[in-house]
């Protein structure tokens, strides 16, 4: 274990929906620049846990400690202010908007014209072109087309690029490889490694254990709202992880 100060610690997180306990005293810890794979079957609580981090749900109990400080995340704005970005299956992009509009969505650049603040579309476009090319290493020619016209991989690059551009300290990726082709999956891994180099922490949720083992540093297993496993990826064994996910003893399973 490193003695680095964790970026995020979640302690004894509880989330109830009416009478249903979706998360039961879940702990999580992640360091800057670390990639944490979050696995579990459907309804294990993965989405609930990350929605607490993104401010979509509020927790019923427990503490969230961000950079050593206890914080409350009550809405999406709180979460964004801390530096938590999220890339969901639909990538969080508005498909009818173009690349610059998406890259700057919610944080538009503006300029003053006759004392009135207006959007500086030109500057946003130039900045996007430069950034996408230099940092993401992507050559998107049709920058002003709606994002829906881009390939899946390009769209993902834009989504992740947005996180990098805005200096997210942590990026949550929910099933980012689910709908991608082989080559695009590798591109995603490359981007995750870039995020890591950038000292950005990543929580990576994925059903595909091959993909998990490819990029993560640590693995956390949830089952029925409880944390049932947490280990360094080098010490983890695929068979054991599967057993933990489905709730069978590793020995009986093998």
């Amino acid at each position: 274990m490193s003695n680095q100060k964790p970026l995020l610690e979640m302690k004894n997180i509880i989330k109830d929906f009416g009478g249903l306990r979706a998360l039961d005293n879940v702990d999580l810890s992640i360091n800057p620049g670390e990639v944490l794979g979050l696995v579990g079957e459907n309804a294990a609580g993965k989405s609930t846990l990350i929605k607490i981090l993104t401010g979509v749900y509020s927790k019923t109990g427990g503490d969230i400690i961000w950079e050593g400080q206890k914080v409350e995340i009550n809405n999406r704005a709180d979460s964004l202010n801390l530096g938590i970005d999220a890339i969901y299956q639909n990538l969080g992009l508005v498909e009818t908007l173009n690349v610059p509009e998406n890259l700057f969505l919610g944080k538009e650049l503006d300029k003053k014209v006759l004392g009135i603040s207006v959007l500086d579309n030109k500057k946003m476009e130039q900045e996007s072109r430069r950034f996408i090319k230099e940092i993401i290493g992507l050559d998107i020619k049709n920058l002003n087309d709606p994002v829906i016209n881009l390939s899946g991989g390009q769209r993902q690059s834009v989504a992740i690029g947005r996180a990098i551009y805005w200096d997210a300290k942590m990026v949550i990726m929910d099933e980012p490889t689910a709908s991608l082709g082989v080559e695009e999956v590798f591109k995603t891994f490359e981007i995750i490694r870039n995020l890591k180099k950038n000292n950005t922490a990543v929580i990576f949720i994925c059903h595909n254990l091959e993909h998990i083992f490819e990029v993560v540093d640590k693995i956390m297993v949830l089952r029925a709202g409880k944390r049932v496993g947490f280990s360094d990826v080098n010490e983890a064994d695929k068979q054991e992880i599967v057993s933990l996910m489905v709730g069978m003893d590793a020995k009986t399973a093998s």
């Binding site: 999406r76 990538l91 969080g92 508005v94 009818t96 579309n121 998107i140 991989g153 695009e184 591109k187």
Partner: protein, 327 residues
């Protein structure tokens, strides 16, 4: 081995297809085609006086269509626009007729009332979580009911000049300032759509509400603002409607939602939100006015215009759908 380009770099250079131009220019193209038809059938259509008439009656729809463009772009709908026009109108007229308030003040009060009516729509949708179709269907009936209660039995006319000048005054006795006002609304609307956060966030929430929320956008706020703007513009259109004829009838604005929504959709705004075309809505409203005027010029019975409008709607929406499929 040759250096491999990642798949993501291979970007098909899309030719701007014929469909693309039909999409962008569609409503303007339709105006030209319709004009050619009219040139053959009834050259009187092109008399300056008739052209002014077309734009004069279109100005009411243009103003409302700008508001509706924002509503629909935000993945919404407002069926109550005609009733908002009538209700803000009747209240303004009452102020002129039955109070000691200076008639000029009826204008800002009326605009405020329109904004309030729109805001009520927005609050019902956002706070009570009613589907917009149902919420505005209810207020369409409700607002109209209040109009009929207040002024169902009589009509009002001969208003003070200060009140009706916006709808009535003509530059050099020829050119109605209502047309200039409508064009001003379109220009301001376009700037708001393209260069303000309000416009950008409306397009974002209409395109993908969840993504907009994730980007930290307060979608409820912008939803309410859209309805409020619609109400304000309905009241502005009401001023022109009343001023043009120097009269108020309780039936003003009945079926107007059909024309206004049609103008917006003909103009190329996506019916399910995300993409707004302010200038398209302008052209759509002008086209609707031309068709209505054409029916009159050709001395066809009044109700033929419904059929003509239906044909225009079907053709234009079908063209967009074909284009969308091809892409």
């Amino acid at each position: 081995m040759e250096e491999q380009h990642p798949a993501s770099e291979i970007v098909a250079k899309r030719e701007k297809s014929l469909g693309y131009y039909v999409g962008v220019m569609g409503p303007f193209l339709a105006i030209i085609i319709f004009s050619i038809i009219m040139a053959v059938l009834a050259p009187r259509f092109f008399l300056p006086q008739n052209m002014i008439n077309i734009f004069y009656s279109a100005s009411i729809f243009i103003i409302m269509a700008v508001g509706m463009t924002f509503v629909i772009t935000g993945a919404g709908i407002d069926l109550s626009v005609g009733s908002q026009l009538a209700l803000s109108g009747v209240l303004m007229c009452f102020i002129c007729k039955f109070t000691n308030i200076p008639p000029i003040l009826a204008i800002p009060i009326g605009l405020a009332i329109g904004t309030l009516l729109g805001t009520i729509n927005g609050l019902i949708v956002v706070k009570l979580r009613l589907p917009e179709f149902i919420a505005t269907l209810a207020t369409m009936i409700g607002y109209r009911g209040i109009v009929l209660i207040l002024a169902g039995g009589f009509s009002m006319t001969r208003f003070p000049t200060e009140f009706i000048f916006i709808g009535r005054y003509r530059l050099f006795d020829v050119f109605p300032i209502a047309i200039l006002l409508a064009i001003l609304v379109v220009v301001v609307g376009y700037i708001m759509y393209r260069y303000s956060k309000y416009g950008r966030y409306t397009a974002a929430m209409g395109g993908d509400k969840e993504a907009a929320v994730l980007a930290g956008i307060n979608v409820d706020k912008y939803k309410i603002l859209n309805f409020a703007l619609m109400g304000f513009l309905a009241a502005l259109a009401s001023l022109i409607t009343i001023g043009r004829l120097d009269a108020f009838h309780a039936t003003y604005g009945v079926y107007m939602e059909i024309d206004v929504i049609a103008a917006v959709i003909i103009g190329g705004t996506a019916l399910y939100g995300g993409v707004g075309k302010i200038w398209g809505s302008f052209a759509g409203a002008v086209l609707m006015a031309m068709v209505t005027n054409g029916v009159t010029i050709l001395r066809l019975p009044y109700f033929y215009q419904y059929v003509a409008v239906a044909v225009v709607i079907i053709i234009s929406v079908a063209l967009y759908t074909l284009r969308a499929k091809r892409e």
